[in-house]
Structures are given as structure tokens and as C-alpha cells.
């Protein structure tokens, strides 16, 4: 737990310390980038990692340099914007933690910290630590939904759902779409992300009507976006800040197998009717 980490690194409340940073700087999408050295001399152990970068950026601006660009928003671990690889680990050294939830009490005085963007073919770097993750939206558009029009729903209690099933669906639905799974995967595979949505919706009765079409379209879109294939190594689940498990990938595999056998994708059923 974090509490024990805090004592392990032995920071006292409000004791400032120094950090040596190597941050990936890249001016634009198609330009070359590289690691640049920075020193931050006034790190407070209670700062979050992003607040430490804020301090660096204020410094850079005052010195007339360009600040480090990075995506961030809610800073409480739920929006999925922040995306840094810290010393080789997506979202840093702690499990179940986003970059914004990582606090500086986790680091030691004088430590060197290497900060890089999430890397994958499907996530091109736009600037510094900002990457383009729009491929995830296109995968969702390919089927990550239940096709129900507003106003046509039955009473919410009309379809009972066992608590056990609802809980597993919620485990999967907790995905924040940050892309750490892709960044940590040696193949740049998006299987954990895709499986989280497929799993959630295939478990719930509301999502069963179009389950075959959903899984096949999402998998095909995933392939089209140049994500790699899954080799069941499990780095994704290890990096996931919401600790989404590999069992959801297995469920996706099951769903896709079902779809392969039943072949109920939209094209097939359209031509069947035609």
C-alpha cells in the first residue's frame, strides 16, 4: 500500500528534495524527439507527479523556454487523460494508480526519473508527452454500445440482474480508456481496452442482443487501427490503473469464438435478408 511506501522512502512532512528528470521532448507530430535533462530542486513529498511537472513548467516559462506539454484533466484518476511512462512503467511505479494519483513521496532525493509518452503505432506522439488516442473512440464507435433509442427503455427493474454478474460487469466498466494497457504491451495491443467493453456489455442482459456483431466489429476495427495482437503476457493487466483482469480478454475471446461460429454480423444478416 501507499502508506507503507511513504514510510519506506522516509520523507518527513514538508521536507523538500531534489529530482533529476529526463523528459521526452518532441516539437510536433512528424518531428524527431529526444530525452532532455531537467533538475527540479524543490520537490515536496506531498505533491502529485503532475504538480511536480507543473513546478518545472512554471520554471521553464519564466526562463523563456517552452513548457512540457502533457494531457491531464481531472487529476483524481478517473478521466484517463494523463499518460506518462515513468521509468519504463506506464503511470509509474505503483499498481492501480494513474500518473495524477502518483505522489512524490514515492521517490527518493536525488533520484533520476525518465518520463516518456505512451508509445505504440496506434498512438502517435503529437507533442512532448501528448499522444493521439482517438483510435479508442473509433473502436467504441464500431460497437461499444447498446443500440437503444432514448425513450424506448422498459422500467429499470423489469430485467433483474444478479449482483454477481453486475459486479463483474462493473469491474470491466471501470476502464478509464487511458491506454496504459497499450503502452505497456510489447505488441501495442488494445485487447484489454476492447475486452473491458465487450465483457461488460456481454455480461448484461441489455447487451446480449447484439453481442456477436459488437465483438466482431470492435475486433476488426482494433486490427484496422494498427494495434498489435494479444500474446497473453499480461503486462496490460499489470499496468492497468483500474486493475482490469485478463479474464475479460478471455471473455472477449469466447465472445468472438461465438460470433465466428454464429456469424451474426451486420453484413451477414443484411445479405441474409436481402
Amino acid at each position: 500500500m501507499t502508506a507503507s511506501n511513504a514510510t519506506a522512502t522516509g520523507h518527513k512532512k514538508n521536507s523538500r528534495f531534489k529530482l533529476h528528470l529526463k523528459i521526452w521532448r518532441q516539437k510536433g507530430k512528424n518531428e524527431a524527439g529526444g530525452l532532455v535533462d531537467y533538475d527540479v530542486n524543490d520537490v515536496n513529498p506531498d505533491m502529485s507527479f503532475l504538480e511536480m511537472i507543473d513546478v518545472l513548467n512554471q520554471d521553464l516559462i519564466k526562463k523563456g523556454e517552452e513548457p512540457v506539454a502533457f494531457d491531464h484533466d481531472c487529476r483524481e484518476g478517473i478521466c484517463g487523460s494523463c499518460a506518462m511512462v515513468i521509468n519504463g512503467n506506464a503511470h509509474g511505479p505503483d499498481t492501480g494508480t494513474t500518473t495524477c494519483q502518483l505522489h512524490m513521496r514515492r521517490f527518493n532525493d536525488g533520484e533520476t526519473v525518465v518520463v516518456e509518452p505512451f508509445r505504440a503505432k496506434a498512438f502517435p506522439v503529437l507533442k512532448d508527452l501528448v499522444v493521439d488516442r482517438s483510435a479508442f473512440d473509433r473502436i467504441t464507435a464500431a460497437g461499444g454500445y447498446v443500440s437503444v433509442n432514448t425513450g424506448s427503455a422498459p422500467d429499470a427493474n423489469a430485467i433483474p440482474i444478479s449482483k454477481t454478474i453486475a459486479d463483474v460487469a462493473m469491474d470491466a466498466a471501470a476502464c478509464i480508456g487511458c491506454g496504459a494497457c497499450v503502452a505497456a504491451c510489447r505488441n501495442g495491443s488494445a485487447m484489454l481496452f476492447v475486452s473491458a467493453k465487450v465483457s461488460q456489455l456481454s455480461l448484461l442482459p441489455q447487451g446480449k442482443a447484439e453481442r456477436e456483431e459488437r465483438v466482431s466489429r470492435m475486433v476488426w476495427q482494433m486490427d484496422e487501427e494498427d494495434f498489435g495482437s494479444c500474446t497473453n503476457m499480461g503486462s496490460c493487466a499489470g499496468a492497468c490503473p483500474k486493475e482490469i483482469s485478463l479474464e475479460h480478454i478471455a471473455r472477449l475471446n469466447r465472445e468472438y469464438l461465438r460470433a465466428t461460429v454464429l456469424k451474426k454480423d451486420r453484413q451477414a444478416s443484411d445479405s441474409g435478408n436481402g
Partner: protein, 636 residues
């Protein structure tokens, strides 16, 4: 300023049904001829985009994030209210309506609030159908909990991530329409100007955040779903990118701004830890169901909490408000915490915190039960503070959380500029002077899924909209305005960073227009703010260039508008010479330090009209209470 609220006549229960019937319809085949721009993809924006596209309108949706799923609705934790009465505890549409009006301290429109309560039921049905994994009982039915200020259990939830699940539901239904080609989704776009032609909203100017290029977007109507402006305080629970710019540009173009001074301070946030603090983190109010709030009885008692014996603790909420106890409404709980801390009995290093203690609940229900209910919140607290709330009480302090004020809208959710509709937190409509817990999600989805589809049809059906394109002078003018403002900021090349100035304006607002305000503080703030504006435009440093991804430039534009908004908020707070809900004027309080309303003079919405930078005209929309009797709120 014409402030016709267009509230339908008839008994309150029938107003919405009647209005739906009386609203003009657009023939299904004609709907594709209308293009709607939706700005923002939170609950309101995503649900509106989906619902309008389902009807057949052509929708163009803009959001500032890299993905629409990241809008700040995602961070709402606790839950969403609905008057389902699944718990058989006496809930009803009328009770939810009544609670919301009363909770808002009688500063919201009855008709709007009743409609909200009616729609609440349909929201839960629709969200369940979309695959939102709500919490369930073992029998498979939906679970409920009671939530801040309600005596019935009407709050539906999905662990501590209700906002996330509802937003992902709305996002998924919008993405389905993207797939169907009916929604044209444009992420990483920031709206910088509203384009008004012949008095009607006909488009927007946006900046492509990725490339820095300016774009013009033409439409038949604009739906603004851009959230609240709590970040004017610099430190708030809002996400870092939440801003007022889109709404403020509309205000400058002539939209009335309703009750800007109504801000909600949330009682249960993690206290600030130092000057580096970039934002505050909220701990869901649901924690107050099981946590007990206390401070030491003695001033300046610095002993660790477990060394303070029971008889030396003051469980002040339970003491002062015996019937609501720890569940007292947000404004009351926040102010009570501030009073304790101002009195020198605050805890922690700064003395700006009170304890929220789970020891009794853990003793009663076991640690694993508490972990099931709040596990993720406890973990979040642990990560931020390095303290384990299973062992030591949480420290909490109030923080700015929500803004009830916003652009004025009529019953159709249309602003004073025809064609400009405003949904969700961005409008001023449903929460009066204080919002009840678990009601923001409800309002965002009610506006987006169930109201705008009817009322936008009524607008199209009753208005003639001649064809315009981006070559129109109004578009050119708006584009020039947006570009030149950006150029101006880049050209200053001063010495202060945008954050420096944002912190300054935030501190002025928190000190003078925060949890408690008075004439002195507000006058002081109004003298300070123009100086901040002056120093922004003469001394800000925005590095980099305009035609590129430039996050400092984005922030600069937002802070410039926050400064102007801050002035309007103070002016509004100064003019409202009463206390109500989140607006607490120290001059106007009862003997027990409760808010003292002045219904004779202030039973109205204050709607401000832009009259040049730093100038504004105050208009009013009187509020009539025909169903709920005006009364002093009492939670004792």
C-alpha cells in the same frame, strides 16, 4: 432584456406534458435539414448529441478533450437521484421536486424543477437499458442509498463511479450515432466565439487545439453544454480544463448570465497540502452516511485523533442538526466546518480541516463492509495523503465544487439569444441557490436526453432560418475577434505566468466571495479585480506560438475570461443583499448563524446583461412559488 420564462400554464404536474403537446414538431424527413452544434460532451452534451441524432438531426459535436469520454461529468462519484420509490419509503415525483426546491433555498423555478423530477424516472430506465452497471441487490433489483440532505433512499449508484458510468453510457450512445454518420465528432476543439446573425445563434468559431488553426462552424442552432465555472477560484474540485470561456463569449454576445454568485462549496474534500496544490479532490458525500464529523472541543488541540477521548470531541453536526446529523445539506455542512475552523478548532497542520471518522461504522459493520461501500474512495484518500482512513480519521475541508449560476434559460432551455440553448451545469436553471447531492447528473441527463429533443424541435418549427454560410460578415468578424484576442495574448510577452495570475484571481475570490461574503469583502474584491485584469493584459507571459498545440495559450484565454467573470460574480453577490443557499452574506444571518433570506426583495433570479468590459446591467426574473410555500429551511 426579455426574460420571458415561457412557463406553460396549468397545474404543475401537467405543465411538461402539455408543453410537449403544444410544442411544434419537425417532420422526420425534414429533420436532416437542420444542423445542430453541440459544444461539450459531458452528460448534457453527450446525451443531447445522441438524442438529437437519434431523431434525425445532423449533429456536430465539439469537445476540448482528446476524447469525448473525458468530460468532467466522469468524476462525479456519489450517485443520481430518481423518484422511483423502489424502496417504498414514501418517495414520489412531488417529493423530489419539493426537496429540490427547498434544498435550493427557493431560488429555482418550480416548473423546471418539477419537470426534472418527472424525468428522473426515465433517466434510470434509459441508463439501465444502455448497460450502465448500477449497483444491485442480491435479488437482481437496483440498489439505492440515501444521499446528502434527503430522508428517502432515492440515489442510484455504480460503486463510487456513478458519473463515470453514466457518462460512458451517454458517450456510447453518442458514439453509436457517430458510427451511423449522424454525429460529426470533433475532439480537441475549443469554442472561442458564438456567431449571431439576425439576432439568432448560427454557429461558432473554434480553435483546433492540436493544430492551433481556427475553424468556423455553421449551424441552425447551438447547444452549449460546457459545464460550470468553479475554476474561477483556481483551487476547486473541477478538472483543470473546466472553464467558462464558451459561456462567457455567449454572455458577451448578449446572452443573460443568471445568478453568477451562486456557487456550491462541497463539505467533504481533501484539504490543501501546500502552495503547489493544483486542484482539490472531492471525497464523495456518500461517506457522510457512515462517517461521523468531529473536531476537538478544545481550541488548538494538536493531539493525534485517537488520543482525544470521546468526551473531548465535538460531533458538531449531530449536535446542531439532530434530525439530519452528518447528512445536513452541503452548504450547511460546509459553513459549519468553516465556523469550527475559524473558531480555532480545526485539525491537521494547517488547522483548516475537520475529521470524518469511520471508527464507529467499522466497529458496527466490519471493515470489509465499509471497504465494499467506499473501498475506492479510501484508496484514493490514502494515495493522496499517505494516510490510511481505516486506521485514522480522514481530514476533510470544504472546497468549491459546483456552480448553480450560469447562462439564463427559459423553460425551453433557450438563452436570451434565440437558437442558443444551454444545458447542464452551464445553465442556471434547476438548483436555485444550492444543489442537492446526486442532482447534477440527473439534470445533465434530463436536459440532454429528454428536454432538448422536444424544445429544439419547437424552435425549428416556429422560426424561419434563412440559409447562411461562413462567408457571412458575422462569421468573418467573429473569426477576426477570436484570432486577434489570441494574438494579443501572445504579444504581451510579460513576466507573469498564466498560473500566477490565475492563482491571484482565485485567492481574491476565495477570500472575498467564497463560503461567506459581505459588503466589505466584495467591495474590496471589486477594487482588486480590475488590477488583475490590467496586469494580465500588460504582463502575462504566454510562451510558444499560436498555430500549434499550445497549452499555455489555451489556459491564458480561459483565465482572461475568468477574470471578467470574477468581477460579475462579486457584483452579483454584492447586489443580492440576502443570504440563500450557497450565497452566504455575513450581514444577513439568523441568531443561529443560518442563512437569512429576504423574500420580499430578492425572490428572483438576477440576470446580468453585458454592457462592455467591467460593466453589466442587472435584470430580474421574479420567481413565483405556487406549490411549495416559501419557508425558512430547517434541518434541525
Amino acid at each position: 432584456m426579455n426574460l420571458d420564462s415561457k412557463i406553460p400554464s396549468g397545474p404543475i404536474e401537467d405543465k411538461w406534458t402539455r408543453h410537449q403537446f403544444e410544442s411544434k414538431l419537425v417532420n422526420p424527413a425534414n429533420r436532416r435539414k437542420f444542423e445542430v452544434i453541440v459544444v461539450g460532451t459531458g452528460l448534457a452534451g453527450a446525451s443531447a448529441s445522441a438524442a438529437l441524432a437519434e431523431l434525425g438531426y445532423r449533429v456536430k459535436t465539439l469537445c476540448t478533450h482528446d476524447s469525448p469520454r473525458r468530460a468532467h461529468s466522469i468524476a462525479a462519484q456519489g450517485g443520481i437521484n430518481a423518484s422511483k420509490n423502489y424502496q417504498n419509503d414514501g418517495d414520489s415525483v412531488y417529493r423530489l421536486f419539493y426537496d429540490t426546491i427547498k434544498g435550493g433555498d427557493f431560488r429555482a423555478r418550480e416548473a423546471n424543477v418539477h419537470r426534472l423530477a418527472e424525468n428522473s424516472v426515465k433517466i434510470i430506465d434509459h441508463c439501465a437499458a444502455l448497460g450502465v452497471p448500477f449497483a444491485r441487490e442480491y435479488g437482481g433489483t437496483l440498489a439505492n442509498r440515501s444521499f446528502g440532505g434527503a430522508q428517502v433512499s432515492r440515489t442510484f449508484y455504480a460503486r463510487g463511479q456513478t458519473g463515470q458510468q453514466l457518462l460512458l453510457g451517454a458517450y456510447s450512445s453518442m458514439m453509436r450515432q457517430v458510427d451511423a454518420g449522424r454525429v460529426n465528432l470533433l475532439p480537441r476543439r475549443e469554442m472561442l466565439e458564438l456567431v449571431v446573425i439576425d439576432g439568432k445563434a448560427r454557429g461558432v468559431i473554434a480553435r483546433n487545439i492540436e493544430t492551433g488553426e481556427f475553424e468556423t462552424h455553421v449551424a441552425d442552432a447551438v447547444v452549449l453544454c460546457t459545464g460550470g465555472y468553479g475554476n474561477v477560484f483556481y483551487l476547486s474540485t473541477n478538472a483543470k480544463n473546466c472553464n467558462v470561456t464558451a459561456a462567457w463569449r455567449c454572455y458577451v454576445k448578449g446572452a443573460g448570465f443568471g445568478n453568477p454568485c451562486f456557487t456550491q462549496i462541497h463539505p467533504t474534500c481533501i484539504p490543501q497540502s501546500g502552495d503547489h496544490q493544483s486542484k482539490l479532490t472531492l471525497m464523495s458525500e456518500s461517506l457522510r452516511n457512515d462517517g461521523r464529523v468531529w473536531v476537538p472541543k478544545a481550541r488548538g488541540d494538536k493531539r493525534p485523533p485517537h488520543q482525544i477521548p470521546l468526551e473531548e470531541r465535538d460531533y458538531y453536526l449531530e449536535r446542531i442538526y439532530p434530525s439530519f446529523g452528518n447528512l445536513a445539506p452541503r452548504d450547511i455542512a460546509s459553513r459549519a466546518a468553516k465556523l469550527q475552523c475559524d473558531d480555532g478548532r480545526g485539525v491537521g497542520e494547517t488547522g483548516l480541516a475537520v475529521y470524518l471518522d469511520f471508527a464507529d461504522a467499522i466497529k458496527r459493520d466490519s471493515a470489509s463492509t465499509i471497504a465494499q461501500r467506499y473501498g475506492n474512495l479510501f484508496q484514493m484518500y490514502d494515495k493522496i495523503t499517505g494516510e490510511d482512513p481505516y486506521k485514522t480519521p480522514m481530514r476533510i475541508y470544504p472546497a468549491v465544487h459546483y456552480t448553480m449560476g450560469g447562462l439564463w434559460v427559459d423553460y425551453n432551455l433557450m438563452s436570451t439569444i434565440p437558437g442558443l440553448h444551454v444545458l447542464g451545469e452551464a445553465n442556471f436553471s434547476d438548483h436555485g441557490a444550492n444543489r442537492l447531492g446526486a442532482s447534477a447528473l440527473m439534470q445533465g441527463l434530463s436536459d440532454g436526453y429528454f428536454i432538448i429533443p422536444t424544445t429544439i424541435g419547437n424552435y425549428f418549427g416556429s422560426t424561419s432560418l434563412p440559409k447562411v454560410d461562413s462567408s457571412h460578415d458575422a462569421f468573418k468578424q467573429a473569426l477576426d475577434d477570436a484570432k486577434s484576442r489570441t494574438q494579443k495574448m501572445l504579444a504581451v510577452k510579460g513576466s507573469q505566468t498564466v498560473d500566477d495570475i490565475h492563482r491571484r484571481i482565485g485567492k481574491i475570490m476565495w477570500d472575498n466571495c467564497g463560503m461567506a461574503r459581505n459588503e466589505d469583502s466584495l467591495t474590496r474584491a471589486l477594487a482588486e479585480i480590475p488590477k488583475v485584469r490590467e496586469s494580465f493584459w500588460s504582463d502575462v507571459r504566454v510562451p510558444g506560438e499560436g498555430v500549434a498545440l499550445n497549452q499555455e495559450l489555451e489556459k491564458a484565454g480561459r483565465v482572461a475570461d475568468f477574470i471578467d467573470l470574477a468581477e460579475l460574480m462579486c457584483r452579483d453577490a454584492l447586489e443580492r443583499k440576502e443570504s440563500c443557499g450557497g450565497h452566504f452574506r455575513t450581514e444577513y444571518q439568523t441568531e443561529d448563524n443560518e442563512a437569512l433570506r429576504d423574500d420580499a426583495n430578492f425572490c428572483h433570479a438576477a440576470v446580468w446583461e453585458f454592457a462592455g468590459t467591467g460593466k453589466a446591467v442587472r435584470n430580474t426574473e421574479p420567481l413565483a412559488f405556487e406549490n411549495v410555500k416559501l419557508a425558512t429551511r430547517s434541518y434541525k
